[in-house]
Symmetry: C2
Subunit: 453 residues, 2 copies
């Protein structure tokens, strides 16, 4: 019996059993050969929803399928859409995981697996919250829609078209997403803003083939040397992005906002502990929280050139490449950011080599409207669940779909993060506290009740 | 029957058949798991020598074995040691080869395979030249020693000790090596100098694990960013190495020497064609031949960091590393060069990351004594073989063993290159003209006759 067949029996399983079943799917959306595993995972989500009393569909998109679920009708009540994703980041480097990334394990009251936090643990808490509520009460206090996609980790390439095509079915009053972090352990958090993202790959090409670095070295521009010079030009000495025009659209932080951020229960030493660095470092004149929350970044995500095996190879490589992502803040736009970077890199390109830019996905930065009535409901649900006043947080990550929802459905999104600060999303040993999973189930129920008004 | 067993029958095989047998061994010295193939290749060389009437031994070293061969005694005649190596560079990237690297193929009258030029084709020409001469004449005009090692491509780590241990057996009047290039097709060449080499790997470490580039990006020094900044500091804007003190020991080129180099039958467009670059580029104020022959270099041989797979991964990598080699000219010393580079990189290291340096092999630069009587013999042998006056060339590559021979055996080395300018040594589609292989066999015979006096 395959994993999917085992997993497809739901009866008698605890919430945690179901989370483990969900986490065992190797649903890595960026790897083309994982497509069957992606579909099996989507089938599992849909089957669970049906088992719980929902209508559910595995809906085709231009890429990996999305799961669409719908609770029983609640006439005269608001419609709430809960969004999440069942795809996960690649598990590499596997050798740095304490336990295998797709064999969930519990240590120190946390579930360790790829996707435990991002996003399987969080979206499953919502699903189970709704299923339990429906089972206990026979109905739901709102009209509830689940939209769980399979391409969040690759920029939600096909979701815009999908939402456009199914717009009338997806119409809703408010959207809830748990794909962000809690400011501190046990501290309920509503995310006030998200950074946008713009991705590109830079490839520098020189000699027609790899050359002997002795026979030709000195007379030919080494593409790796060219690349490092260009990338060294991404920042200035003060840690600012040195791309001309890059800050033109960046909203200037005001004093009240900076004070509110400074009052949050997070210290510089928290960041230092969570990242394991000796010394925090970034743009001069800003705190770590500001550097992450309200300032843009230029990050090298990968470098590749020449010989990477054991020992020495005296080669002058014919190509060198880098994967880059830029985090954006209001009111930057991904296309404009990439245009500016491309011009800048072209200006830094030394003679004797050529450059190719492959643009990746982009996502707009987002700011929540705090005056919306739904915000009050969310803050009350958070306080009821955790017994503590929620913090308003500026999130460094990107959820481009949030802007899409505003554009296409006209609805605001409530970002109710359940991730622990040290959840290691996207990295080895990703984990999700069992406590947060259980709180997420209760939060969903409180949220539906508060939103019902 | 395995390849080694097939290969171990020599009778009835043409010279070219034997070259093909030699090239089929995957004798990549840098890969630990290739050790059995290395030994099989050494066994084959020794068996061929024995088959040809030589004494031969597969001699243990601290690493891969060396082959030691000795011809019949020629009392009162000089002793000539011919050095070569049976190990080859790694074959990667395999997908860029027209035919598989260890399945020799002939196209356009050239043999294509890893090691065809560097060094199997060239050393085999010497071996076969001697075997044929001995068979035809019943004796050799000199005392002839073959020393064929298996660690040239990994810096000849164990050869110094080996030579020291076997010094009395290896005592000789002159040494001949064919592991360098011909200045132009069909143009006999005696190499007057070689560059030295110093290798190191730089590893930059930051966060304890890979981090989410959204959640933490901006507050942590990215090790890849740190690395590119440090490496961008290896050169100044004029293409000179920017490491303080690096040029202190570099011999200033004199005008006569620069004129002689300029008179050689190689043009800038030859370099451009051979490398396939749009534009040659290097240290200001020097020709390509000078940049390669008489000036030091700093080359990046490899870059590794973060995500290198398909698509995007929004990761802030915990480490970034680079493989570097420096080519040295008289009178630079590898240790001093690496010391200076290490200090320079340490000075360029940004706060928030740590650096580790792993030193690789080093080799001294070498200049041939043109007034030696053996030089005249070599020049005459080259002219007799090719029917043309030989060129004196400055070689950009490194053969550290040449300095070792001078230090330990007190003997000069004649560098009689047979490699074509576009041989692609160390790169995909490495090749050796059949004509050069045949000329090499004749050259060996002419050389022995001339050295006999």
């Amino acid at each position: 019996m395959s994993h999917s067949e085992t997993a497809l029996s739901f009866s008698g399983k605890s919430d945690l059993d179901l989370l483990f079943d969900f986490l065992r799917f190797r649903s890595v959306s960026t790897k083309p050969d994982h497509a069957p595993e992606m579909r099996a995972c989507a089938d599992w989500v849909a089957a669970l929803l049906r088992h719980g009393g929902f209508q559910a569909e595995v809906a085709e998109t231009g890429g990996h399928p999305a799961v669409l679920g719908r609770g029983p009708e609640a006439p005269g009540k608001p419609t709430v859409l809960v969004y999440g994703h069942y795809d996960v980041q690649p598990e590499e480097p596997v050798n740095l995981w304490t336990s295998p990334p797709f064999e969930p394990a519990i240590r120190n009251k946390r579930v360790f697996a790829r996707g435990a936090t991002d996003n399987k643990g969080q979206i499953l808490a919502h699903i189970l919250g709704a299923i339990h509520l429906l089972r206990e009460e026979g109905s739901l206090p709102v009209n509830l829609i689940f939209l769980i996609e399979g391409e969040e980790e690759v920029g939600s390439t096909n979701l815009d078209d999908f939402i456009r095509a199914r717009r009338s079915e997806l119409r809703c009053d408010v959207i809830a997403i748990s794909d962000t972090g809690m400011i501190a352990e046990g501290y309920p958090t509503l995310t006030q803003s998200l950074r946008g993202i713009a991705a590109m790959e830079v490839i520098v090409r020189g000699p027609a083939t790899d050359l002997h670095s002795g026979i030709f070295g000195g007379a030919v521009m080494n593409p790796a040397t060219a690349l490092v010079r260009m990338l060294a030009g991404l920042h200035d000495a003060k840690g600012r992005i040195a791309v001309p025009g890059f800050y033109d659209d960046v909203t200037k932080p005001d004093a009240a906002e900076r004070e509110a951020l400074a009052a949050l229960p997070v210290s510089e030493s928290d960041y230092q502990r969570e990242t394991g660095v000796l010394l925090l470092s970034g743009e001069e004149g800003f705190s770590s929280m500001e550097r992450i929350g309200i300032r843009p970044t230029a990050e090298i995500n990968g470098l590749t050139s020449g010989y990477q095996g054991e020992g020495t190879k005296t080669v002058l490589p014919s190509t060198a490449s880098a994967k880059l992502t830029f985090r954006l803040v209001p009111n930057q736009k991904p296309d404009r950011a990439l245009n500016l970077v491309e011009i800048h890199l072209q200006n830094l390109l030394p003679p004797g080599v050529e450059m190719e830019i492959i643009r990746g996905h982009g996502g707009m930065p987002y700011t929540l409207d705090l005056k919306s009535p739904w915000c009050g409901a969310a803050l009350r649900a958070l306080e009821a669940t955790f017994g503590q006043k929620p913090a308003l947080m500026r999130e460094g990550g990107s959820i481009p779909i949030v802007q899409t929802f505003r554009d296409l459905l006209g609805s605001d999104t409530l970002l109710l993060g359940l991730a622990a600060p040290d959840c290691k999303a996207h990295a080895p040993d990703e984990n999700f506290p069992v406590e947060n999973f259980e709180a997420g189930i209760r939060l969903h129920q409180n949220l539906l009740r508060e939103l019902a008004g």
